[in-house]
């Protein structure tokens, strides 16, 4: 029960990795804020599951790319919970990972990059700005940003997505340097291909097999594989770790 009396915000938690993370925190006794944008039914299901696992949970709708919606969410958290111990910036802009039908660079408009920057970077920026006053008050806190192993190894060149995730790593390192003197840690988790999620459903068996063949642990990640490293970085077990990117891809990328 590593997260008893801890409050954790997971953005984009109504499905996929986010939902798995919410449940994992709940199973460790945490109070999880299940943030979602539109799928209320799914979010409420996650809340139910969290409670069944022994944790507490609270679903709050907010488009994390909207400063005002994030501010409203944080005001509610401050009001109802009063503190935040960890944030997982997991939400990202809609993206379909389809190796067979990806957009090549010369067909990629700047607006696609912009959309990914907004989804990865602006959302994280908004959340970090909004949560900081609460974390600064107690001079402690952990921020975990979800990025991708594609930054280190662009197995499939998803230009806009991967560039935005790269920016997120630089953002996280810089923020780690700024917030270290205030006792707040910032780290990244970089999964490889996680299957099945809504976003990765279009990735064909053949591609997955090709990745598996090159992955030392000989499989690809399930959403539950991501939870351990995220919980580690959110917990006191990683109390002296900041500015790091933890690759969770079975050893495909080694740094």
């Amino acid at each position: 029960m590593n997260f008893r009396d801890r409050t954790i915000i997971v953005t984009g938690a109504s499905r996929g990795i986010g939902a798995a993370l919410a449940k994992a925190f709940a199973a460790e006794g945490g109070l999880v804020v299940v943030n979602y944008r539109s799928n209320e039914a799914a979010a409420l299901q996650v809340v139910e599951a969290c409670r069944a696992l022994g944790g507490q949970a609270l679903a709050i709708a907010a488009d994390v790319t909207s400063e005002s919606e994030v501010a409203a969410m944080m005001a509610r958290i401050a009001d109802e919970v009063g503190k935040v111990d960890a944030v997982v910036n997991n939400a990202f802009a809609p993206y379909v990972f389809d190796p067979d039908d990806r957009t090549r660079f010369w067909d990629t408009p700047w607006s696609a990059y912009q959309a990914q920057f907004d989804g990865a970077l602006k959302a994280t920026y908004n959340i970090c700005q909004a949560v900081l006053p609460l974390m600064k008050q107690r001079l402690r806190g952990s921020i975990v940003n979800m990025t991708s192993d594609l930054v280190a190894r662009p197995s499939i060149p998803y230009h806009d997505y991967t560039t935005a995730k790269s920016a997120l790593i630089g953002f996280s390192r810089t923020l780690a340097a700024e917030l270290g003197p205030l006792g707040i840690r910032v780290n990244c988790v970089a999964p490889g291909l996680v299957y099945p999620t809504d976003a990765s459903r279009a990735t064909k068996e053949e591609v997955r097999d090709a990745l598996i063949a090159q992955t030392p642990l000989r499989r690809i990640a399930a959403p539950e594989d991501i939870t351990g490293p995220v919980l580690f970085l959110a917990s006191d077990w990683s109390g002296f770790v900041t500015g790091q990117t933890l690759h969770v891809d079975g050893g495909l990328v080694m740094t």
């Binding site: 107690r138 001079l139 003197p181 205030l182 006792g183």
Partner: protein, 482 residues
């Protein structure tokens, strides 16, 4: 582990009654035996020390005394010396302070008593230190020689390890026989130092004694007070007053009461590059000896208008304290100390509802900061790493906030540009601050500092002057007179 405290020249251990004090910290325990002397033994010991000092210590030249002290300090600085090893092993258990804090703190402290520093110490108070050895010519004409008291009684506090060495060494430099009373909280180091001196120069070792009596034991104390020509005492005002009331009216009394240190940070020091390092230095001063020193800061005044706001600076100091809590953990607090911290924090929490302040850190942390936005007068903190950080529009405002507490003022740590430093020093000196230092150095006064603004050595001596006319008249009686 059993250790005998004190230093009793002329008395064997078997002749003396011993009381056992029990100490425990960091998972270890120690039994310290402190001497309980009978009235007759006390009187005899005092007489012996007085006589020995008169026949030996007063015949040494001050340069010889500093050389002997230097040798003793060298042993305490030598990590391979058995005395030093004993200090490092036992003081953490007795005082509860983190072993590393003691090790580093003692080294820094002891360095200020090496021979060159002792020379500086002497030079601070005497234009010509040889005035302690011989009659020296005076600018007004005639000659003068400084005499220390025959018997100097020290009543020490146990707040900071090593503190007794200040007055003990002062006494030696002015050639006074010394009787020092150690505190129950730290009964060891002064006695060890005396024994080291005795190993180096046995005759000198007979010119000082280190004893113990229970604090507040009126009868026990009276015996010693009656013997003293001068008394140096450290402690709270009540204890100091009690000593004053019981001391012979003819004895010179030099009390050092409780003080409240504070820091001041100018906006010039609050840019994004310097603020972090400065916060660390301020936190260091708070951490050192858990604010038990008279020089420890209990409040920090931070000027608005810098790139880093006072509130942000508070947060940086908070995290530095959190980091120091790992490097140098706070000692386990006695019940009354923990209650002191809790009641200070509780009072701050209550006042936080009015909105002018907020508390940083959790109540479970071994440190606390309250950040205050409204100007607030100097006030003690809950000690043991608790600190108020007060935002002010101008550092000049601080003068009025500390002025009403003149008797508690001593050290002020200032971070400001040079012109500002001197200007503020002038204003602060006027209201009673006696020591201006850098943040990060508040707990390490420089060699030869004037404790509470007084002359540590000069206050102990009397001058015997040969007036010019006496010298001229003597000429008339000389065998060579024409």
């Amino acid at each position: 582990m059993t250790e005998f405290a004190g230093h009793l020249p002329g008395l064997s251990a078997g002749e003396v009654e011993w009381k056992t004090l029990h100490f425990g910290a960091w998972g270890e325990a120690a039994e310290i035996r402190v001497p309980v002397l009978s009235e007759a033994q006390a009187a005899a010991l005092a007489g012996r020390v007085r006589d020995n000092a008169r026949t030996y210590l007063k015949t040494l030249r001050v340069a010889e005394i500093t050389a002997i002290i230097d040798q003793a300090i060298a042993r305490l600085l030598d990590r391979n010396d058995p005395w030093r090893q004993k200090v490092e092993r036992l003081l953490p258990i007795v005082t509860g302070y983190d072993a590393e804090m003691i090790r580093l703190g003692l080294t820094g402290y002891l360095k200020t008593f090496r021979q060159p520093q002792l020379k500086r110490f002497l030079a601070e108070d005497f234009a010509d230190p040889q005035i302690l050895d011989d009659f020296q010519p005076r600018p007004k004409g005639g000659f003068a020689k400084a005499f220390g008291p025959d018997l100097l009684l020290h009543v020490w506090a146990g707040n900071v390890p090593g503190l007794p060495l200040w007055s003990l060494i002062s006494g030696l430099l002015v050639k006074a026989g010394s009787i020092g009373k150690v505190a129950t909280a730290e009964p060891l180091l002064a006695g060890w130092f005396a024994r080291i001196l005795a190993e180096i120069d046995p005759r000198l070792g007979e010119c000082l004694a280190v004893v113990w009596w229970k604090g507040g034991d009126e009868a026990g104390e009276r015996v010693w007070l009656a013997q003293a020509d001068a008394i140096v005492a450290y402690g709270g005002n009540d204890a100091l007053k009690a000593i004053r009331d019981r001391a012979p009216v003819t004895a010179r009394y030099l009390p050092h009461g409780h003080k409240i240190g504070f820091g001041m940070v100018a906006r010039a020091a609050l840019d994004t590059r310097k603020a972090g390092a400065l916060a660390r230095r301020a936190a260091y001063d708070v951490m050192r000896y858990d604010q038990q020193g008279c020089y420890s800061p209990q409040m920090l005044f931070v000027e608005r208008g810098g790139r880093v706001s006072p509130r942000e600076f508070s947060a940086y100091v908070g995290h530095e304290l959190a980091s120091f809590a790992r490097k140098h953990p706070r000692r386990a607090l006695a019940i009354e100390e923990a209650a002191g911290v809790a009641s200070w924090r509780g009072a701050q929490e209550l006042r936080a509802f009015s909105g002018d302040r907020d508390l940083l850190g959790d109540s479970a942390d071994s440190w606390s900061i309250v950040h205050v936005e409204d100007a607030q007068a100097l006030a003690p903190s809950g000690l043991n790493r608790t600190l108020s950080i007060v935002a002010v529009d101008r550092l000049d405002d601080v003068v009025g906030l500390v002025a009403p507490f003149r008797s508690f003022l001593q050290s002020a740590g200032i971070a400001a540009e040079p012109e500002e430093l001197f200007r503020l020093a002038g204003l602060l000196g006027q209201v009673g601050v006696t020591r201006i230092c850098a943040l990060g150095s508040m707990t390490a006064p420089e060699a030869g500092w004037h404790n509470d603004g007084r002359f540590n050595l000069l206050d102990l001596v009397t001058m015997t002057e040969i007036e010019h006319a006496a010298e001229a008249a003597a000429d008339g009686f000389a065998p060579y007179v024409d």
